[in-house]
Symmetry: D2
């Protein structure tokens, strides 16, 4: 372990758009609740930084693989006004990257159950466990949340630090992947899969085997939803996606029907009509919005619901949608908002599914690169040329 | 039992606004799915009609009390274009009235568990029990639903007929009400209370004792929600209502806080801010929309939610609302649409609560009249002069 | 359609062991609540009986396949005292058989959604839909239950009658099975699969994908549990079974681990220890008792539970078991009793799973015979030589 | 704050009954998993001990009131063989007492949301928040649990220390109790009330308003169950209790029916028959075992269940019970084991209920004494002369 290491460090200028929208705590901590309202001229670059130290409950992880997420793009990109596009919590400077797998190389004195040499993945939601939300088991709504890769250094560096309570062992991935290399690649897909799992099985309370499922949008999260709903007994999985390459992948990972919604509409068919058609008019028992297009999403989804149907919202967007509540009354149906991935056995269950060979998310990887190619890849992803890119620092 | 009886009969002219919006079955059965699109020039009058006969599974009930519901007003009222205002399922001519209590005077040969002399109340949702929705336990979503007082003769007549499976005994009301008369009055409030109960405890899945509750709109359904949430352990019940008399009643039946939302807004306070204020910023664990104002309702309710908060929608309206799904994601919250009152122990539980003296809905009665005053009362109610009026045929 | 048909008719002598244990209604209707306490000297024979007529809500079905169930054996067998072994509800004479598929050849005037030529399966629990249990959605606890093949003529005859509300269409089975013949065979396995589905996903409330599952006993119901838990996302399915042929089939339909519990115990290993071993000491998230051996079952299962673990009881037995509630307290775990298969989308979901090709129960068929071989097969099954035998009348 | 303080210190001799039943960790930490198997000759005495120091996340609390629990008796009592009676986790020496309220007099540098002067109550289950059970939201099943008053110093001392995450503010109790003194008394009843709340509303998943409830055993936990089920909408609460004074109190806090089960049985009436009688043969929707008598409890409770009924087990005992699973199958019913009180909003909800004046547990207090009388009171309680005794150190 050297004294210096390479890391993808994001910096920007603290320059609140409107002074009065920022709280004193935000100013004091240089920690913006809404990144796009404060951080000006974001710049990502590969820097040599100090190797981190660990305290009693922390572990030091040699990062083996770290996936690039859509929010990484928005963190590094600026809008026309020069401000960061990402609208969420950001504290700079920070090493980005939050889809991490790696090998434990050092453990603090108070760490239990994890030892040097263990293969681990790391949660992104660093919930405190002490606030009123955490004490009520709403870890994903933690009032003092830290986020790896947003407010704390993440995975696009050689060595990272995490409290052991956010780490989960994936040693059993070697049951199904022949090489450690491949196992770590699968590992760096655990985080987005957990986001999908939490939406479907915790927030959305799952569904009965035999159910009809619709996934709206098949980026990495939507693709994980397809995989998970097939595994959990959906009898038909229907996916809608505008991008060609994503549609191909949706089919490859198991969707029974995949459509380009715009193509359908050009031909005078509303996507929801397609759902009703495929389901003999019964509609979908559970639908997931993983597009981030609430206006279009709600318009279609509320007409494609079965009696007792569920809509689960993962896609983030700063637009309001129009909802016709009468549909939800006549159909006895409901809408659930979903955020995060912590708690309720999400991580151990996803890890078990991968370890048993039942779930193989590596099918969605379209490229694996070194840390030096991160910036290039952010651009390729923005253009839609890739789907899931992994970085090996 | 005479051969003729008095009944409040609703008639109108079958005159579809747009021929192509009506199905063949609707035409054949003179049964409009959307009353306001077909029935022209509705007229209510007290007529002498034949006494009904009963078949094997039916009972004949001497109606003792029948409450007037808001939908009764809309059935009898016409808009500027001369069409019925009520937008739901209607088959005419029909005897209206669906909040019924009465005495059983005759039972069919196949009736079990109900005998002559029993005091009963009658469900309004006459679900078939045989369609795919019913067989999946969605009685309120029955695909061949008949509705008492809308497609089948209801309670504004001297004697009515119902299949025994829609009847529930209220003999035990005499435990708490000294006279049969009073017991039957309480009986005719069971149906609207069941609508509230179904929304709160079946569709909305209830709430933990200690919860903060907000009821939006305190007509009879909203008032029932106040009573029921107090009984079920709400630690604070907050109500919003624009009408003075309803606010008084909300207070009387147990709301801890009652506000006129417009009055607040005139003073620069948004209703949701009041909720946050009263709940120490934690927000409401469960909120019920019983106003039929989705635009205003959603705007306020989505800002007044606690983490894990629930919105339950009872109020009906043909407007779309604007929803900001981001709130539901950050708060881990959800929206449930609710309709009807059948199944899942709703009726027996409401009857037990009344029989035990824990629930007394008679507090919301503002007038009791004879059948001949029904038309007058429909107008008084429309003007907001009364809240709950009972008719004794 | 002839005037006469062949049927496997069960008769016996009404001879109550103790007069005072029988109610007046039982005597009047010749309908024993506990068959083994009343019916003496049961005899099954193939008889020519009249073709049945149908009324308004009934359909006439040409039986294509009918599975033999363990209870069919107990109905026809007598104990040392000469009484029927089956301890449940029986009204004689009756045509037995309750795992039926067939073709609709006639429909009553009030039947909806089913037409001549449809391929159907029939529920065994003929719930009334009108009693207090049914109105509370406990169809499987119907207070006036009739049971096909026990109190009403069942499937071991050429033509049978059923109310259309107990019938479900399986026309879509032709999507996956090339011949009608094979499709009907799959159809006659729907009923036992629904018993397993109801236990797992309705009574037991399902499980999270990734869960560890143990199935105790792998007769037809246990085998269905293996199939269904694999489909629903179990990451490990462990089965225990004493009979060699059943163990082979358990493996074939997807169990990850299959053990002979007695063999283990001979080697000084308790079955629950094996479960803990395979699950890294975490225990099973859900376990199903499908053996009918409560003493042995509870002893093992309560020690094999995970934190939050569930025990679901399908196996029937007239013995008490010993339970150590302390285990359930320290583990936050629970026990659910399960009976029946009606309601809550059980049948349509099982049918969807088969129609989609995800669930193929025909793997458990070990023999297909004609009606004349029924008696012989009852004996072969009793000896454990066969697992699932289908009869084609 | 002085340097020394008075405390009720429990000591005993480490003397394992069987060496091989004790793990190495237990020996190393002098921390017995089963107190009764290790601790010999327990002795409680009031000692002068050092004032505790606090670290970053801890608060120092001046204890105002601390209730005596049944387990305090068993900790201090020895059996015929000289060993401690208490069968659970114990590390000695320890200051006992775990039903604490007090005033915050000092806060660590990392404490958030609690300040000097706040009135607080303290959880007894000091869950780690980091083990696999805690990360899956099973705080009450924490794998590294510490217990206040059992392994860490508790409330029978002048000043105690607790991590702020186990503390809950009760400042709002002054809304309903006129004096701080009285408010703190109410505060020291929060912990046992939370044990009851967790059993009923978290583990047992609550019940529908209108339900019939039976509470078996009316010690402090059973009494809390009566109060909570009345608040949550039970229409009938039936209690069974052998001790006269407890029966009186059961009646006082709201039970609708209270019986001495032995008295009934002397008269030839089984307690379960009484339940069926009072509930018109329908049985109890939810029953709580708070006696610690599983043999008698299960025998009665399984016969008193309604269709869909629930049994919730709080009472601890080291005996097995006999269960007849057939009852649970025919009734579609279930058994839940319950332990602890942490998580899922239990504490804030109980505090809200008390703050709103809806729940007043102070009715069950039979005596308030000083620390010097603790030993005497342990004996009085053992004799059944008192029900809830509070100590003011």
């Amino acid at each position: 372990v050297n004294k210096k290491q390479s890391a993808a460090l994001l910096v920007a200028e603290w320059k609140p758009k409107k002074r009065d929208e920022i709280s004193e705590d935000e100013v004091k901590d240089r920690r913006a609740k809404f990144g796009n309202k404060v951080w000006y001229n974001p710049k990502l670059s590969i820097k040599e930084i100090d190797m981190p130290n660990i305290s009693g409950k922390e572990v030091l992880i040699k990062v083996k693989s770290c996936g690039i997420c859509g929010s990484d793009i928005h963190l590094c990109e600026k809008g026309e006004d020069g401000y960061m596009l990402y609208p969420g919590l950001v504290k700079l400077p920070v090493v980005i990257g939050h889809e991490v797998s790696g090998e434990v190389v050092k453990v603090g004195s108070e760490v239990e159950g994890i030892k040097v040499g263990d293969m681990v993945v790391v949660e992104e939601m660093w919930y405190c466990g002490e606030c009123d939300a955490c004490r009520r088991d709403y870890f994903n709504q933690c009032l003092r949340l830290e986020e790896m890769g947003f407010t704390k250094n993440g995975g696009f560096e050689e060595y990272m630090v995490a409290n052991y309570k956010y780490c989960w062992k994936i040693n059993d991935f070697l049951n199904v992947y022949r090489t450690e290399d491949k196992a770590y690649e699968a590992g760096s897909l655990v985080e987005p899969t957990c986001v999908a799992y939490n939406a479907l099985f915790v927030r959305g309370e799952g569904f009965k085997p035999g159910s009809y499922v619709v996934i709206w949008g098949t980026g990495p999260i939507g693709l994980a939803c397809i995989c998970l709903t097939k595994i959990a007994g959906a009898s038909k999985v229907i996916a809608f996606e505008v991008k060609e390459r994503r549609r191909q992948l949706a089919k490859k990972v198991g969707a029974d029907y995949v459509f380009d919604p715009y193509e359908l509409m050009k031909n005078g068919i509303e996507p929801y009509e397609k759902v009703l058609d495929i389901t003999n008019g019964e509609g979908a028992d559970i639908q997931v919005e993983a597009m981030g297009n609430p206006v279009f999403g709600m318009r279609q989804m509320q007409k494609a619901m079965s009696i007792g149907g569920k809509l689960v919202w993962i896609g983030r967007a700063i637009e309001e949608a129009s909802i016709y509540l009468e549909y939800f009354q006549t159909k006895a149906s409901q809408v659930y908002g979903s955020q995060g991935h912590a708690g309720f056995g999400v991580w151990p269950n996803v890890i078990r599914l991968i370890s048993s060979g039942r779930l193989d998310m590596t099918k969605i990887i379209t490229k694996v690169v070194g840390l030096e190619e991160l910036s290039t890849m952010l651009k390729e992803l923005e253009k839609g040329k890739e789907i899931k890119v992994l970085v090996k620092p």
